[in-house]
């Protein structure tokens, strides 16, 4: 009985691997990317890419298990929702008013520790921002909202 159940799970498990999941990946840094419109120190740039871009850009750095269904579906849903809310890859397509609002919202989410998401940090402890990094990033974002972007 147990053996049969395991075999059944294996068959279903293998079978669902054949269902395609779109891959959120791209090689180019598009003209519309956030970092094409703002001058950012490398440290800030690396921080934002490491902590935000997996779910908020057109380029996800998938972990090895990230393509295994059903987990891949779960990740895909997160990425879709994340990009709908904020997409760094097409940031320059937002109106100036919307850019300001997105940056305001980033500051508030980082300050309150709502982003990066806790579930994401379980799998990506390196993406966690310490207090000093948070402060730096918030200062940087505040400055952008003062100076504006192009």
């Amino acid at each position: 009985m147990l053996k049969k159940a395991i075999i059944a799970i294996l068959i279903v498990g293998a079978g669902i691997q054949l269902i395609p999941v779109p891959k959120n990946q791209s090689d180019e840094l598009p003209e519309t990317d956030f970092f094409q419109s703002v001058e950012a120190p490398l440290a800030i740039r690396n921080m934002v890419i490491a902590s935000c871009y997996d779910c908020h850009s057109n380029n996800t750095d998938y972990p090895w298990y990230g393509r295994v269904r059903p987990l891949a579906w779960f990740l895909q849903k997160h990425i879709d929702e994340g990009k709908e809310e904020l997409n760094f890859s097409s940031f320059r397509e937002y109106s100036d008013r919307m850019k300001r609002e997105k940056i305001r919202s980033m500051i508030s989410q980082i300050r309150d520790g709502e982003m990066p998401l806790q579930e994401y940090l379980w799998m990506h402890p390196e993406a966690e921002l310490n207090e000093k990094e948070k402060k730096k990033l918030i200062e940087f974002l505040n400055q952008i909202n003062k100076d504006g972007t192009d």
Partner: protein
């Protein structure tokens, strides 16, 4: 073989974690969704397809009143209404040269309404505060159907201050609610 089993096991556990979280959220939302829906339906049947600025101001002021009363649920309903009426706003009277700006304001204000519809009260207040400026800019283009008071509380957001619009001169603070109901002053009067 063992490795495959382990991987599948991990994947299954993770996936179920994710979905159970989501379903709890869903259940929570479902209770509020019902009352929201009836409110929206009433609104839809009483208003024309093309709403004008007075409907938008009305929705904004209902969010404000709900926040004054620390009522997260009512604010959420009103936020949803605001997002809805902004989407149907009549741009016929807006001058050609101002249409682009008006549309950009509406897009951002709609985004605020949508967030207010699904957030905790602190987060609702943040969006409401930001929304106040967009409403002011929108009214500068469309005009207002009533006298409005721009009010300001210097203590909001770690003393950075925050503003809102009200139809009455008397201060009832939506950014703090009952915690600091009377904090604020009139900064500007926006006339018809």
């Amino acid at each position: 073989m063992k490795k495959v089993l382990l991987t599948l096991g991990i994947a299954a556990v993770l996936a179920s974690c994710g979905s159970s979280n989501k379903s709890e959220e869903k259940a929570e939302q479902a209770t509020t969704a019902k009352s929201e829906q009836t409110a929206m339906e009433e609104k839809a049947s009483s208003a024309d397809k093309n709403t004008d600025v007075s409907t938008v101001i009305e929705a904004y002021l209902s969010i404000k009143d709900a926040l004054v009363n620390d009522d997260q649920e009512k604010a959420a309903t009103a936020g949803k209404t605001l997002a809805g009426v902004l989407g149907e706003m009549n741009m016929g009277q807006v001058a050609e040269g101002q249409k682009k700006e008006a549309n950009e304001i509406i897009e951002v204000a709609k985004n605020h309404g949508e967030h207010i519809a699904e957030s905790e009260i602190d987060h609702q207040r943040e969006h409401f505060e930001a929304l106040g400026k967009d409403m002011k800019d929108l009214i500068a283009i469309t005009g207002t159907d009533r006298k409005l008071y721009q009010q300001y509380c210097p203590m909001y957001n770690d003393n950075k201050g925050g503003m809102w619009l009200s139809a009455s001169e008397e201060i009832r603070n939506p950014l703090f609610g009952s915690k600091m109901l009377k904090c604020g002053k009139v900064e500007e009067v926006i006339n018809l």
